[in-house]
């Protein structure tokens, strides 16, 4: 049973986690929780926390994988954060999946859980007028346990190195372009999830070897049960039924987007570090590509790039769907 294996891994990997601050006692009943792994992301943290607090996330359960920039201290001081730290290998915990599976196993049961990277910003239908609790209540009422999303890379017009991202700043003020309609979708027969690729990274970095372009399908929002486990990042989970976030008869199930604020000036430093560290997916092949191409005057921008406005725009473009939520 693969699901069992994932769980056992997670339980085994718990010894790698040292608790720094435990405020889990304060987690309110039926609240939405966020699970995150970070490493040297101190600049991103203030806006990240602010964004999800505004949506109505009640508690953050965070694993710090050896930050040296003081991000751990910043988090430890936040009233709605519980923090664990580890210096073990990110790669060998399957990119943090095992650690976060453990935390969800321990604290997530019965809660709606968001599993995120610190550069991912969840957008769902009506997110500007309805808190995330309204969404989760609706999903509960509809008998839906997981919500599918697509990761949308947002990028600036010009090289990322020219940006000057400041802590607390909305990253989409400076990186607000995206690819509206070049995504490729297929179905993964093994887990039943959709496999989505495309976007600017496929267009610019992987145009000659598209099979290697990053996966953009994500299922970050799940009504957690101790029997569940993510298999690889948040691309898919077990049991398989949770991956069935799409309708196959032509209709549209409700779905959201994860806005990806990866392409900021912070990337330049990160790419240089990661090329040496080799702790990322497929040995950080992506970072290699960014590292080599970071001198392109347009960056990822092209004349057909679309400027980001709001979720309604994404809905009209067919990148997410209201489903039957009215």
């Amino acid at each position: 049973m693969e699901r069992r294996r994932c769980q056992i891994r997670a339980i085994r990997k718990r010894v790698e986690l040292a608790n720094v601050v435990d405020r889990t006692e304060a987690i309110p009943e039926n609240s939405v929780l966020a699970f995150v792994t970070i490493r040297n992301e101190i600049k991103r943290l203030p806006f990240f926390l602010e964004y999800y607090r505004a949506l109505g996330v009640k508690h953050f359960l965070i694993v710090d994988n050896g930050s040296s920039d003081g991000g751990d201290r910043l988090l430890a001081g936040e009233e709605d954060v519980s923090l664990w730290s580890t210096s073990a290998s990110y790669k060998r915990s399957r990119f943090g999946t095992d650690w976060l599976n453990w935390l969800k196993f321990r604290y997530g049961g019965g809660h709606w859980t968001l599993t995120l990277d610190p550069d991912e910003f969840f957008v769902y239908p009506f997110c500007d007028t309805r808190p995330i609790q309204a969404l989760c209540d609706w999903l509960d009422q509809s008998g839906i346990r997981s919500l599918g999303t697509m990761l949308i890379d947002l990028y600036p017009r010009g090289p990322v190195a020219d940006l000057n991202y400041q802590p607390g700043q909305d990253p989409f003020e400076i990186a607000n372009w995206f690819d509206a309609g070049n995504y490729m979708v297929s179905k993964n027969p093994r887990y039943g999830n959709l496999w989505i690729q495309g976007g600017p990274r496929a267009r610019v970095y992987f145009a000659d070897e598209p099979e290697k372009s990053p996966s953009l399908n994500k299922i970050p929002l799940v009504k957690w049960d101790r029997r569940y486990a993510y298999v690889s990042s948040t691309h898919m989970l077990l049991p398989r039924g949770l991956n069935q976030t799409y309708d196959e008869a032509g209709g549209e199930k409700m779905s959201g987007c994860l806005l990806h604020a990866k392409f900021l000036d912070t990337l330049v430093e990160k790419a240089a570090e990661e090329v040496n560290r080799r702790e990322h997916f497929a040995n950080g092949r992506e970072y290699d590509a960014y590292h080599q191409r970071s001198d392109d005057p347009n960056g990822l921008w092209c004349e057909w790039s679309e400027k980001f406005i709001d979720w309604r725009q994404l809905e009209l473009l067919g990148l997410m769907s209201k489903g039957n939520w009215a």
Partner: protein
Amino acid sequence: MTVGFVMLAHGALQRTADVAKVLSDAGCPLIIHVDARVGEPFDRFKTRVSHLPNVSLAPRLACEWGTWALVQASRDCAETLLRQYPDVSHVYLISGTCLPIKPVPELTRFLADHPDTDFIESVTIGEVPWTKGGLSEERFTLTFPFPWRRRRKLFDLWVEAQRLVGRRRKLPDGLSPHMGSQWWCLTRATLETILNDSRRDEIDRYFKRVWIPDESYFQSLVRLYGRKVESRSLTLSKFDFQGKPHVFYNDHLALLRQTPQFFARKIWPGANQLYRAFLDGRQSVPPLARISPAHIDRTFIQASVRRTRGRPGMVMSGRFPGKDYDSALTAAPYAVFHGFSDVFRDFPRWARLNTGSRTHGHLFAKERVEYFGGQSGFAGAMSSSAALRDYDTRQFLRNLIWNTRGEHQSFLFSPRDSQEITEFLAADRNANISIVTGAWALPLLRSGRSVDEVRKEAAILQQREADFIEILSERRTRARARVWSLAEFLERPLDPLQEIVDSLSGAEQHLLAEMPELKLMVGLPDFLQALRNAGMNPHMAGEVSEDVAAQMPGVARIG
């Protein structure tokens, strides 16, 4: 004369208490029934409402969804209300998640103007499909001892078993089954007749085993006893395609202000802005102009359509039609011109002028995607990389058509292109395909290479073309295809072109003023014969006579 309320509450008791206070302040008697399954929050609720004048709490029953307990609770409450408050002339049944969206005095005035009218949605099941995603007539002819929410399998099995033996329960005499929304407002006279009915035991026995009796008990009985039934609910409540109630949020404020009904259900308990706007009497905002119920319906109908039918030609994390999906595979009609670039010079320019369609070059060319005007990318940030396109050709074409919805698209095609898309084209009812077979011979002719050099290539191209035609002639093909051999086409090129233009510009008749410029084809019959002699019969081209090739307009100019 006043209106009294019966309120059935299940959760979100904070909000229920807020509404109770407003009704009590307006001087309306109110009896609240709280589901016996609600635990600890009930005590807090009790302290909040017990001191309110005219408000009382009913003995609590466990009210599982779709069961008789709901009818019993509302009926018992109504009975108490009528007994305790002799001046109550109408009883209005609301739920704990209802919100008064008009000031209560407006409702009182309205009911005073209609003293004898029962407001209850009540439709005959035979004639109107009222239910959504559930049983309809069988609710009345079968029995339902198992709870649908908790014991779904047993419920379904029991239904199946009864169908198998052809069970049909006998209805009480004179009763005609009607259904409708649970949220009614009935007159004292009608309710008292129902409550004092001498056959009440018999009727109760029957309805206790009907499925979701709270949607049919009063709805059927008013047809027996009501004097003046107006079949509509004074409560706005909308159901989705699965029969779940739609929920109202802060962003529905304008819609609720424009709604003609007096109450709305159900309100999300966290919708602070709605509760403030409608419960805080100090915030009196002039109502917006009323809109028709049809207008309000539209929002909710659109949601159902999106969920059940979706937007054709779009694939994303919530929509991925499977193999059995039989509607259009793309978002809009488009045209494919197979072989045309070998016969004509700059056919895209001509097609753009004469059909208005954005006509691309060979989108599926081996080396790169030839977008309109030779652009390096296209709408939606599509790439011109052949590798990216070939990685998922179907999605490539689907994206192109989706990204340009509102503008007709066309493209050139040829056996020299990547052929992987052909099955998709054939299966797509939006594809309008025009084919000149054998046209691939023309570039070979013009290449100046010897017949021996080109015969192998000719054979491959001809085979690919034949495969495409074969796919198009299969029964499951949905595309519209027209095929001419090169010989037929050259004989009278204007007719096929006129046909194509007509089919693309719809009903509009547009007589062609200009032919696209023909490419050089001198020597074509000899070339075809030479191929034949070399053992490679170019049968797809047909029999081209020397006269035709020589007389083609434009030949002189091009030559």
